[in-house]
């Protein structure tokens, strides 16, 4: 079907298209305006802005730890905001179904679950397959697993390590690789309680830095489009800015992505020894072009922290609100679930301000990514309000008036004038994520792109405007109209598919037989296990 989205303000930074015009869709692709072609369907986009569908690169939307968080907190589902009415499972709490609907209403069409335990890959993909409308992707976690740590300890060749990383990515159907507090989960099992970049994992004699550098090199060498996704050591600790700075320095010219930098933006100044180091980190990011970051913005209210950084979550158990938590020692990382409520006290205000400082002080929107680390900083449902804070200084000023003055006195936020433009929003939430993930078919509105399109009716109220899209197309299907779901469909999980090395397969089979008493097929699965047509979409590695 040929569709024309007529007369909207098109914002497509990739193709340099900015201004009023028409956009044409043929079936599931964006096409050039057909010569003399008549549209079978015309969408009136006058008074609207038209952008590619948004891409979230870091949102914990499915998998073992996320599901455990649901299980832990049946009473907290109200915290996850309004439900679309009269839809299947419409009043469900924090469900897979609701996740897809809520993202689509905001114009998001692709979301990355950034922490998939390889051993729970099937579980994760089954959950993702039950998230309607949007496409999904996952990052496989490595860096605390015995197989990799043993290889590093034993000075295995870089080729062997690449073979293992390739097998993990292929067998788990991942789009990239993440390392979470490298080595710390393994050290925690041996009763180590704090762990920094140059600390060494007992029994392996391997430092956290060595693990990060090994994986960074393997990911780059394999041509995985997304750079190694790093959750640094010492998350949430006063002084963690030093760790983040050291990790940024460790990039050493190769691409590296640092996740939720806000949670490392903490200095040790002031009488509480907790201060903003955002300006320092922003300066470092600005000066290090091979580094990209996402923010992990904190917003106020109840949420639950879900992390495979089991050491950090164990230490945070005392701050659980309500007072219950789950700590799981997994085969690699495991994880911790600790509910938490961000209050407008000194600490909450400081965290909120640090995130916004990073957003506003990092110059290049191609290298800073829009996340709340859902649900760790806040549920993704706060995105419209966060857009407003980035795009209007006035909204920030109003918010600051109700927050801790002593925290704001230690922050530069009130003095920052910058307001994000729609073009910068389009870069940060569309063009840049697509480029970072290697998704050439989306993030832009050029001919041949997948017809993932979000149309927003202009409004002075930015949160209202970006919270309820006027129209959303996914693969050319009109799925949202006036902020309501109009059509349900099932997206795909985007994955890489590097060929596994046969010698590595044999080695892994032996390893699993000897160490776990199980054959490797206990940990693998066919695509048919997902029980959906075409559950996966393949993305090419760099050549």
């Amino acid at each position: 079907m040929l569709t024309k989205i007529a007369g909207g303000d098109i914002i497509d930074p990739v193709n340099g298209r900015l201004g009023k015009g028409d956009l044409w869709i043929s079936d599931d692709k964006i096409v050039a305006a057909p010569a003399g072609g008549a549209a079978e369907r015309t969408i009136d986009a006058a008074g609207c802005i038209v952008m590619a569908g948004a891409i979230d690169i870091h949102s914990h939307i499915g998998g073992g730890n996320v599901n455990t968080a649901r299980l832990l907190l049946p009473e907290q589902h109200a915290a996850h905001q309004a439900r679309p009415a009269t839809t299947p499972l419409s009043n469900a709490g924090w469900s897979t179904f609701q996740t897809g609907c809520l993202y689509a209403r905001m114009g998001f069409t692709t979301v990355v679950e950034p922490a998939m335990s390889p051993g729970a890959a099937l579980h994760t993909h089954l959950e993702l397959a039950d998230i309607p409308i949007i496409d999904k992707a996952t990052l496989a976690i490595l860096g605390n697993d015995d197989f990799l740590l043993s290889m590093i300890r034993d000075d295995a060749s870089s080729q062997m390590i690449e073979d293992y990383v390739a097998w993990t990515v292929a067998s788990t159907r991942a789009l990239g690789v993440k390392v979470i507090n490298a080595g710390a989960a393994a050290a925690f099992k041996e009763n180590v309680r704090t762990f920094s970049l140059d600390d060494v994992v007992p029994s392996y004699g391997v430092s956290s830095r060595k693990i990060v550098k090994t994986l960074q090199a393997a990911v780059d060498s394999l041509g995985v489009p997304h750079p190694l996704h790093v959750h640094c050591n010492n998350l949430g600790s006063p002084g963690s800015a030093d760790t983040a700075a050291a990790t940024i320095a460790a990039a050493e010219g190769l691409p590296l992505h640092l996740a939720h930098l806000q949670f490392y933006g903490y200095g040790t100044e002031g009488k509480r020894r907790f201060s903003s180091a955002a300006a320092r980190l922003a300066e470092l990011v600005n000066a290090t072009p091979e580094v990209t970051i996402d923010i992990g913005q904190v917003m106020f209210g109840q949420t639950v922290t879900v992390s495979s950084d089991v050491m950090r979550q164990f230490s945070a158990r005392g701050s659980a609100q309500p007072k219950k938590s789950v700590i799981h020692d997994g085969d690699g990382n495991g994880g911790g679930i600790v509910p938490y409520s961000y209050g407008k006290d000194f600490y909450g205000t400081m965290q909120w301000a640090i995130g916004l400082e990073l957003f506003l002080l990092i110059d290049d929107p191609w290298r800073v990514f829009f996340t709340t680390d859902h649900p760790n900083g806040a549920p993704f449902t706060v995105y419209p309000a966060l857009f407003e804070l980035l795009m209007t200084r006035e909204a920030r000023t109003e918010m600051i008036a109700g927050l801790s003055p002593s925290a704001m006195a230690l922050s530069t936020l009130a003095a920052i004038d910058r307001e994000y433009t729609f073009e910068e929003i389009a870069i940060m939430t569309r063009a840049a994520p697509a480029r970072l993930l290697g998704l050439t078919d989306r993030g832009h509105l050029g001919a041949g792109a997948t017809a993932d399109i979000a149309v927003y009716r202009r409004d002075q109220n930015i949160a209202k405007m970006l919270g309820q899209a006027a129209y959303v197309f996914k693969d050319g299907d009109l799925v949202v109209q006036d902020g309501e779901i109009t059509h349900y469909r099932w997206g795909k999980a985007l994955r890489l598919n590097p060929s596994p090395d046969k010698a590595m397969l044999r080695r892994l089979e032996d390893y699993h037989q000897q160490r776990y008493g199980l054959s490797l097929d206990w940990f693998d699965f066919p695509d048919t296990a997902i029980a959906r047509e075409q559950p996966f979409g393949e993305v090419a590695c760099r050549t």
Binding site: L72, N91, L122, L126, S203, D329, F525
Partner: protein, 368 residues
């Protein structure tokens, strides 16, 4: 081979499904009890949403106790693979379901290979059993016998409380047998693991166990290995949690999911006469039920004949035997894909439930 019956009369599966849908559509209070794989569960929950049913595991009490540990208290747990490779002290907490005895035997026959603990001269894990019922204990390798930790006839919860108190140096009215051996083993341990299940362990005992594990983690490491009372039951609990936000014992009576482990206890609803229609999904043979007034039964079961007293019976295959399936595995602590061991033409539970759902009128598409 007949695969569907209305009453005792053979019929086409399509007709039986339509009749089942009509019964569900006219039911005032339908209830589902599940003993099925992940895709069977997903289909059943989607149908429950459509007809306003409450659903539970077929043997819901034990799974509910395990879910309550997480919904009410939280826990410290460890993956089974990690337990096999790291546990230098293994503590069996009460009675474990028979399906886990092989794994306990495996633990007793192997030694940990991670973190190189000192296993003393015996080069084997220390194994303890909390509780007094030695007869039901898993068999260990080489004729080994677990060291019993008990307080005479005291309940498991009371024994765990006494154990925890003694470990903290507090007085107890009655000492735990072999406590000194236990304390000595824990002092030397790198990573003790407590094996627990909700099968025969009450909720407060599970909480007390977690209290003990928490106490141990103040200065050293320890964790609990959840060996589910029912693998199908725990798998269904996980699928229910991602689909609705809630574990089993959730109901759609008011059009949206409500989690209430008392109100939606399907066995209770049947016994109390609240339910007027029971959809029972089980690949095992369904035993005839005591006839209850006004309550109709729809049985999806692996059967060659109509289930006694059922208004509708549809034959289904067994997950992992007649058809490929995804199931929860306590051996890996996650979901696993299993091939058909003896593939047959019997349809999966999911296939039949979706067929029934296709006959139920609805305004919107099924969510799965």
């Amino acid at each position: 081979m007949a695969v569907a019956w209305i009453g005792n009369r053979e019929t086409l599966v399509e007709r039986a499904a339509a009749h089942a849908a009509a019964l569900l559509g006219s039911s005032r209070c339908p209830v589902f009890s599940l003993d099925t794989d992940i895709h069977g569960t997903r289909a059943a929950i989607a149908l429950a949403e459509r007809v306003g049913a409450a659903y539970d595991h077929a043997d819901g009490a034990a799974v509910s106790r395990e879910a309550a540990l997480f919904t009410d208290k939280g826990a410290m747990t460890v993956a089974p693979g990690e337990a096999r490779r790291r546990a230098d002290v293994v503590v069996v907490v009460g009675e474990l379901p028979q399906i886990h005895h092989q794994f306990v035997g495996e633990l007793s026959a192997t030694v940990p290979d991670l973190s190189t603990p000192d296993l003393s001269a015996r080069n084997q894990r220390e194994i303890f059993l909390i509780g007094s019922n030695e007869m039901s204990a898993p068999r260990l390798s080489n004729g080994r016998i677990a060291t019993i930790l008990s307080c005479g006839e005291a309940s498991l919860g009371a024994t765990l409380a006494a154990l925890r108190a003694q470990w903290r140096g507090r007085q107890t009215s009655r000492p735990v047998s072999n406590f000194d051996d236990f304390a000595k083993a824990l002092e030397a341990a790198h990573f003790p693991v407590f094996l627990f299940s909700g099968d025969a362990t009450e909720g407060l005992a599970l909480e007390m166990l977690q209290g003990l594990v928490t106490d141990l983690n103040r200065k050293s490491r320890a964790s609990g290995l959840h060996l589910s009372a029912s693998e199908n039951g725990w798998g269904s609990a996980l699928a229910s949690t991602w689909m609705t936000g809630f574990p089993l014992r959730t109901g759609f009576a008011r059009g949206f999911p409500e989690f209430d482990p008392w109100r939606n206890d399907v066995a209770r609803m049947i016994a109390a006469g609240e339910a007027d229609l029971h959809l029972r999904i089980s690949s095992s043979i369904v035993q005839p039920q005591k006839k209850r007034n006004r309550m109709a039964l729809i049985a999806l079961a692996k059967t060659h004949e109509p289930v006694a007293g059922a208004a509708v019976t549809i034959a289904i295959g067994e997950a992992g035997v007649d058809h490929q399936a995804v199931v929860y595995s306590s051996r890996t602590g996650s979901l696993r894909s299993v091939d058909a061991r003896a593939a047959s033409e019997l349809p999966s539970a999911a296939t039949v439930i979706r067929l029934v759902a296709s006959h139920v009128s609805a305004e919107a598409a099924l969510p799965c």
